[in-house]
């Protein structure tokens, strides 16, 4: 069995399969190592994304389903992933883990 080769993370593959209700989602775009973040931001805006944050190697932006697929096809994009929930890591024997 060959793995599919896509720059979309599994969570976004599933999301883009859902019926398009016009909703948008925050994604993290990994830029290829030689990519220029400023140019990536400009290009994302040109494509129609709402850029939230740009840092070294990463840009976060709001995209539609169609736009997620389009961004993933850009040559300067390494991967497009969905934000991951993080959990605080305290623990107490007398408390439910939060």
């Amino acid at each position: 069995m060959e793995p599919s080769r896509t720059r979309l993370a599994p969570g976004l593959i599933r999301w883009t399969q859902e019926p398009d209700r016009g909703d948008r989602r925050l994604v993290i775009v990994h830029i290829s190592p030689s990519g220029d973040p400023a140019a990536a931001v400009a290009e994302l805006k040109r494509l129609g994304a709402v850029v939230h944050h740009a840092g070294p190697g990463l840009v976060t932006a709001l995209v539609t389903r169609a736009l997620a697929n389009e961004v993933a096809e850009q040559p300067w994009v390494l991967a497009v992933v969905d934000p991951t929930p993080m959990f605080p890591v305290p623990l107490s024997s007398s408390m439910p883990a939060s």
């Binding site: 793995p3 709001l62 929930p85 623990l91 107490s92 408390m95 939060s98």
Partner: protein, 608 residues
């Protein structure tokens, strides 16, 4: 003749309490007199008709335990994650039960032990003493983090807490940042020292909720609280450091990344150390996820990130194995959370495999990247070449699963070059992310993301004390041995074999600031952890050990503001304490050993 010990599940205090209670009202005057005298002399927690007990139970019998407590008209205060998992281990239930039920409890087959609170001498500041030699270090080197920014990227901060205020009542918080992406719309609100001072004087009320959970407040207090509310008793490690608190709402990596960048921008020319006591197991555990990339790229001279290693050492959320041609490898996982859970299987590039998802009914389905609903739940399974690390990734997500049903992932190797596979599983709630792989689980490679980042200082936890005083009396955990690794502390290495954790520090138990109005403040189950005056709470976890190291790094940055992560790691590695409990280091559990602040500062040659 040697006497044989009497076998009892109840500790001696409970046994005495049970027998005396049964003796009250008997016709035997001496026993009656003794019983009444005893009961009258005891503090309230032991007198009365009910008593709070800690029950260690065999978790497969957890339902029987809950039923028994109900039958006795008792009340379950809380149950730990082990109990909720029903995995075949021992779990803790905290309950109020009638004293009259104690003798019967002693005959319950599933009850391993039952303990009451005990009168003990307080040892509230142990983390500062022998375990880390922080006290000695500060006596030799008067450092307090002056001029250093300590950033807490977390759930917020209770900026009204006295430990974050100066003696004159003004705030010690340089900036309070609220990074929010609720409803998908990103938003940043930033509050300056002046804004907070106005709010402290009651002149402004437009600052958003402080800390709903209380986690960020606790971490900030460990690293940089000044202990004002306790007259210095519970001061943090670097009490003169400047605090920048970032509240991430929700707690997602995108918001944490934004928070980190804002922190370092706010720090400007000042050295800064960020604490991230947050984690996740979604990703390759190899340095390529967004959080790991962000930490590696933002770190540099005077820009340090400390991360909690994670509390999954005994959680059963990871397994690994070797593929062999001609032999199927089966990943069994149980349904722990009917709402949602995931399994990520990582297969090295170059290995050729066939994959099948096998629900409990024995059917075999291929991971074709479509959403499928069957009688056992709705699942999505897709097999991709990960765009970031080029390894093969099978992602399985399950909704509406039937609790305790067992699913299988069958991996049929066709051609094996590398062969080492890893899998991580979880849910959306840490309390149900437990025992998902059951007997197949391995404690190794449970260091969470982003502690797996190359440039993060990853911190595990040791037991620093086994007793503390709370609002309801002394708490005793004498089954824990100070100096040992906390059983929950996540083990390394990373999936690629990188050495994590770096060091271990006190994380079991740590008393620090309690955010008023937070979950930690209100949750009844935490009554045993809160201090008498309600300003502090005692918690455990690598969330607590990480800010201890964050504070220590702030001390060093005060003198050497340009230090890099690599240099700090090298010094931690060289000076970490090794003993019989650590064994040979580096190892998966202790990293390079136990934090030794005195040796760390001595080696660094701090001079005045």
């Amino acid at each position: 003749m040697a006497s044989l010990p009497r076998r009892s599940s109840l500790d001696s205090q409970l046994l005495l309490r049970a027998h005396l209670a049964s003796a009250v009202g008997t016709s035997e005057p001496s026993t009656h007199e003794l019983a009444v005298k005893y009961l009258e002399s005891r503090v309230e927690r032991l007198a009365g008709d009910e008593i709070t007990v800690k029950m260690l139970v065999d978790t497969p019998a957890a339902d029987e335990a809950f039923a028994w407590i109900k039958e006795q008209e008792g009340t379950v205060i809380s149950a730990d994650t082990a109990v909720n998992s029903r995995a075949d281990i021992v779990g803790l239930i905290l309950a109020r039960i009638p004293v009259a039920a104690l003798l019967e409890a002693n005959r319950l087959p599933w009850l391993r032990s039952m303990e009451a609170s005990r009168l003990l001498h307080p040892k509230l500041d142990v983390a500062r003493g022998q375990p880390t030699r922080l006290g000695e270090a500060l006596a030799a080197y008067p450092l307090a983090g002056d001029g250093v920014v300590v950033g807490i990227i977390d759930t917020g901060i209770d900026w009204l807490h006295d430990d974050f205020c100066n003696e004159n009542g003004t705030t010690r918080i340089d900036r309070y940042v609220h990074v929010s992406s609720q409803s998908g719309i990103p938003q940043i609100s930033m509050y300056t020292r002046e804004d907070l001072n106005k709010a402290l004087q009651g002149l402004s009320k437009n600052i958003p909720p402080r800390d709903d959970l209380g986690h960020g407040t606790h971490c900030a207090s460990i690293a940089a609280g000044n202990g004002n509310a306790s007259k210095g008793r519970f001061r943090g490690v670097a009490p003169d450091a400047t605090i920048v608190a970032v509240r991430c709402d929700p707690l997602e990596d995108a918001n944490v990344i934004e928070g980190l960048q804002l922190l370092f921008e706010i720090a400007g020319d000042r050295p800064a150390v960020a604490n991230v006591s947050l984690g996740s197991h979604r990703g390759g555990h190899d340095g390529t996820s967004a959080m790991e990339v962000a930490i590696d790229r933002m770190s540099g001279p005077g820009r340090i990130v400390v991360a909690a290693a994670g509390n999954e050492g005994i959680s059963g959320i990871h397994l690994s194995g070797e593929l062999a041609e001609g032999s199927d490898f089966i990943v069994n996982f149980r349904v722990a959370d009917p709402d949602y859970q995931y399994v990520d299987v990582w297969i090295p590039r170059g290995d050729k495999v066939d994959l099948y998802i096998e629900p409990p009914d024995g059917t075999s389905l291929v991971p074709d990247g479509t959403l499928q609903t069957i009688q056992h739940g709705t699942f999505f399974a897709v097999f991709v070449e990960d765009a970031l690390n080029r390894d093969q990734h099978l992602a399985v997500e399950l909704w509406d699963g039937i609790p305790e049903e067992e699913w299988k992932i069958r991996i049929r190797p066709q051609e094996v070059l590398h062969g080492k596979i890893h899998a991580w599983a979880g849910t959306n709630h840490p309390r149900t992310s437990f025992g998902l792989f059951q007997a197949d689980a391995s404690p190794d490679c449970t260091v969470c993301i982003p502690a797996t980042a190359t440039r993060a200082i990853a911190v595990g936890s040791t037991v620093n004390r086994n007793q503390f005083i709370s609002a309801v009396g002394p708490q005793d955990y004498s089954y824990l041995t100070p100096g040992e690794l906390s059983s929950f502390s996540s083990h390394g290495p990373t999936r690629l074999g990188v050495q994590k954790p770096d060091v271990v520090a006190p994380g079991q138990f740590v008393t620090a600031a309690l955010a008023e109005g937070s979950f930690f403040y209100k949750e009844p189950a935490l009554e045993l952890n809160r201090s008498v005056d309600g300003s502090y709470i005692t918690l455990q976890g690598t969330s607590m050990s990480a800010p201890f190291v964050t504070g220590v790094i702030a001390l060093l940055l005060e003198r050497e503001p340009e230090l890099s992560t690599e240099e700090i790691r090298k010094r931690l590695q060289i000076t970490a304490h090794r003993d019989q409990t650590t064994g040979r280091v580096w190892n998966n559990e202790f990293g390079f050993g136990k934090l030794d602040v005195l040796a760390f500062l001595q080696y660094s040659g701090v001079t005045f």
